[in-house]
């Protein structure tokens, strides 16, 4: 009897001990897009698992469905994601609708300073309302639209000579969009290494956000502004001003003259394919794609060059911001573990490793390190690009605003309906209606 009692007590103690361990260690799910950086984060997170005892799970959704899937999750109060690396434009809606946990107190308590991160990423990924010290995310992955070019083709003497003869200048990295179009035209339909190649791959995707990201990337430098700086939501003359019209006309001209046949619905992956397969001389794409080119058999090993978005006709130079911040989902039951992860992720050593593994760190300690520009062939371009970023609306109605621009831009650029002025006038009307519905106008 005594022995049986002893055995039962021992069994209970072991069970209790195991339960205690389980209570401390959580299964933490991180939700993000399915792409190369996510794979790098899985590797990086193993260190966190070892240190914390938590088990990490990952829910990755391909980009075209990422917003649909994850916004559904947030809007329905889903508990799947403890951590969300959500797109920068979601910040307004997620903050106002209570999807994300406000992180100010947590940052203060753990010595995490937003001034340690690249300013544009703090504004773009963390703040809502913009330019106020209200933080809903830690900048996790810096990204920006930039350009890659076939350095090996640019260095061919026969192509250099032909270009100089035609345009009267050297074939090199374009400083302006006008120069970029010249280069794209030069390569369009040209035989290089026995193969017909084309000028440029640009964003034209209709379904999610592709053509908006591409067109905006150009429009900013031509003078497009979202609103009157003195009167919020006053868009007439800014969204559809002469500069914006010229920018959209330029984007259509670039699409018409210099893209490969069948480029009517291309976004990030189509751009990667076009560039890696040697179809195009120039490629517009987010910086996250760049590490993949360096390791590619066809375009790696010094064959690829990188450059910042060129300047517009008046010398303005901006680029479309990409990237995301990492947030704690307010519906999650694993908030403590999620905060623990953010604390771990914010450490300079972890951020340095993140950069090494292909993640674009936003921590100044990493990016301002004197060795940073030489650390990768694209590092300097990344830094220069991040210095000139602008982002799309991050309002709670961003999805409605985005759908309007997708339709207006695709209608004009790809389908060729109407004029650039009509497309942008229509966009002002759509956006005005949305802000009226929101009670902001």
């Amino acid at each position: 009897m005594r022995r049986a009692h002893l055995a039962a007590t021992a069994a209970l103690s072991i069970t209790a001990a195991l339960s205690a361990t389980n209570a401390q260690a959580a299964d933490l799910t991180l939700c993000w897009a399915a792409w190369d950086p996510a794979n790098a984060l899985v590797e990086l997170s193993k260190e966190f698992e070892a240190q914390s005892g938590h088990t990490m799970k990952f829910e990755f959704v391909p980009w075209p469905n990422f917003a649909d899937r994850m916004l559904n999750e947030l809007n329905s109060g889903g508990k799947l994601c403890g951590l969300m690396i959500g797109d920068s434009q979601w910040i307004g809606g997620s903050a106002e609708n209570g999807h994300y946990v406000k992180l100010n107190d947590f940052f203060d308590a753990n010595g995490i300073k937003m001034s340690d991160f690249i300013d544009a990423t703090v504004t773009g990924y963390s703040e809502w309302p913009k330019n106020t010290p209200n933080y809903w995310a830690l900048p996790a992955f810096g990204d920006v639209v930039g350009w890659t070019y076939r350095k090996d083709w640019f260095e061919k003497p026969e192509l250099q000579a032909a270009f100089k003869e035609k345009y009267g200048r050297d074939l090199g990295v374009p400083a302006t969009f006008a120069e970029l179009k010249d280069i794209a035209e030069f390569f369009q339909g040209r035989e290089v290494d026995g193969k017909t190649v084309y000028g440029a791959s640009i964003y034209t995707e209709r379904g999610s956000e592709g053509i908006t990201m591409g067109a905006m990337d150009v429009l900013y430098s031509f003078g497009f502004r979202y609103e009157n700086p003195d009167k919020p939501y006053d868009m007439d003359g800014f969204v559809n001003g002469p500069g914006a019209v010229a920018g959209l006309e330029y984007y259509k001209a670039l699409y018409d003259c210099c893209t490969p046949p069948g480029s009517s619905n291309g976004y990030m992956s189509e751009g990667i394919d076009a560039f890696k397969s040697g179809q195009v001389a120039l490629q517009m794409n987010f910086a996250f794609t760049w590490p993949g080119f360096e390791s590619d058999a066809n375009v790696g090993g010094g064959k690829t060059g990188y450059f910042v978005n060129p300047a517009g006709p008046d010398g303005d130079q901006f680029a479309q911001l990409g990237g995301q911040g990492i947030s704690v989902v307010s519906y999650s039951e694993k908030q403590d573990a999620a905060l623990e992860y953010i604390k771990w992720f914010a450490q300079p050593a972890v951020q340095a490793k993140w950069w090494e593994m292909g993640g674009f760190s936003c921590l100044k300690a990493v990016t301002l390190d004197p060795a940073f520009p030489q650390s990768q062939p694209y590092a300097q371009t990344f830094l220069d690009s991040m210095a000139v970023v602008k982002d799309f609306w991050a309002e709670p109605s961003y999805a409605t605003l985005l759908q309007a621009s997708q339709r207006r831009f695709h209608d004009y650029v790809v389908a060729g309906n109407g004029t650039a002025k009509e497309a942008l006038d229509g966009l002002v009307a759509d956006w005005t209606e949305t802000f009226e519905d929101d009670g902001k106008l």
Binding site: A67, D68, L71, N72, N75, G93, E96, N97, G98, E205, R206, G207, P260, P261, G262, S263, S264, N265, P396, A399, T400, L402, Q403, R407, H410, D411, Y412, V414, A415, G416, N417, D437
Partner: protein, 315 residues
């Protein structure tokens, strides 16, 4: 007859169950069988419909559940019916619907007519022809984007071979004039076998003696076709049109994979447009009104059509 069945079942049931069934009337038994179905229908069909009608009269947005709900009456309906984009979408749907039905009926009936003739390899050809309809629409949409690819696509090469134009000089899914036809071609390729099978069933249901009698009366083949084959296959054909019409009115996956609604909005069918309103723009009240309008349209058209079908069957 029903009583016989119940008595037999009662006799076959074990003791306790027999006593329990024995205490129930036929009507009660019928209710026991019907109630679960009715409850299920109420829960998954009728309640959501009523709820959707309610939502359509509000400004509700599913992504802002904490916002104040405002009663807007018929404003959503008014906005939809006066929105030129919605009408463009309806036009794109009508183009898709009409042409897919025309092609599928013509080709489907012709194939059925040919397959109905006895020839060597008849069964093999039937199997090959019905293969496309066994594939997933998303898969079909995806691989047709490759077939339509101007640089490597087989479709462009075939057209180039036949017409002599440069294969990369046209883009089926990137050109506003060609894109509406690109989705018609793919849907026709995929669903013509379905129409063919229904027509084949119709053709095989015609008794041989009718043709034999016509032969005796010296009716020509042409006359037999128009006075025997077509009238007797017509109810089957109309049924196929009804099925395909309803399916194509709500077409989504195939077109999303192929064109994403583009270029511009030229192939943005109502279902794609509705999905964007409901789950991308999150205008739940507005999209509920949109869904109700589509439901009434399909329901109304289908009812008229079924009446016509019944009349044809009665003849």
């Amino acid at each position: 007859m029903t009583d016989d069945i119940i008595s037999r079942e009662r006799a076959a049931a074990p003791g306790a169950l027999r006593r329990r069934i024995g205490g129930l009337s036929d009507r009660a038994l019928a209710w026991i069988f019907i109630v679960p179905t009715i409850l299920l229908l109420l829960a998954i069909n009728i309640f959501p419909l009523i709820w959707t009608i309610r939502l359509s009269l509000t400004n509700y947005r599913a992504n802002r559940t904490n916002a104040e709900l405002e009663w807007v009456g018929l404003r959503n309906y008014e906005r939809i019916l006066t929105d030129p984009d919605i009408w463009n979408s309806m036009q794109a749907t009508a183009h898709f619907l009409v042409w897919t039905l025309v092609f599928q009926v013509l080709i489907g009936f012709s194939l059925a007519y040919l397959i109905n003739k006895k020839f060597k390899g008849n069964d093999l050809w039937t199997t090959i022809i019905v293969l496309p309809m066994m594939l997933s629409p998303a898969v079909v949409g995806n691989f047709w984007t490759f077939l339509y690819q101007p640089q490597i696509g087989l479709f462009n090469y075939v057209v180039a071979f036949v017409s002599g134009v440069d294969p990369s000089s046209f883009s089926m899914i990137g050109d506003v004039r060609l894109a509406p036809w690109s989705i018609v071609i793919v849907d026709t390729w995929m669903w013509t076998p379905f129409v063919m099978l229904i027509c084949l069933a119709g053709l095989r249901s015609i008794p041989d003696y009718i043709y034999e009698a016509a032969e005796v009366d010296r009716a020509s083949r042409w006359r037999q076709f128009w006075t025997i084959t077509i009238p007797m296959v017509l109810p089957f054909l109309m049924l196929a049109v009804l099925f395909r019409g309803i399916e194509n009115f709500k077409m989504f996956d195939l077109v999303v994979q192929l064109t994403g609604g583009g270029p511009g909005s030229i192939t943005e069918l109502t279902s794609i447009n509705l999905k964007r309103e409901a789950f991308e723009k999150w205008r739940t009240g507005y999209s509920s009104a949109y869904a109700i309008i589509l439901f009434v349209t399909v329901f109304g058209l289908a009812s008229i059509y079924v009446k016509a079908l019944n009349k044809v069957k009665e003849r």
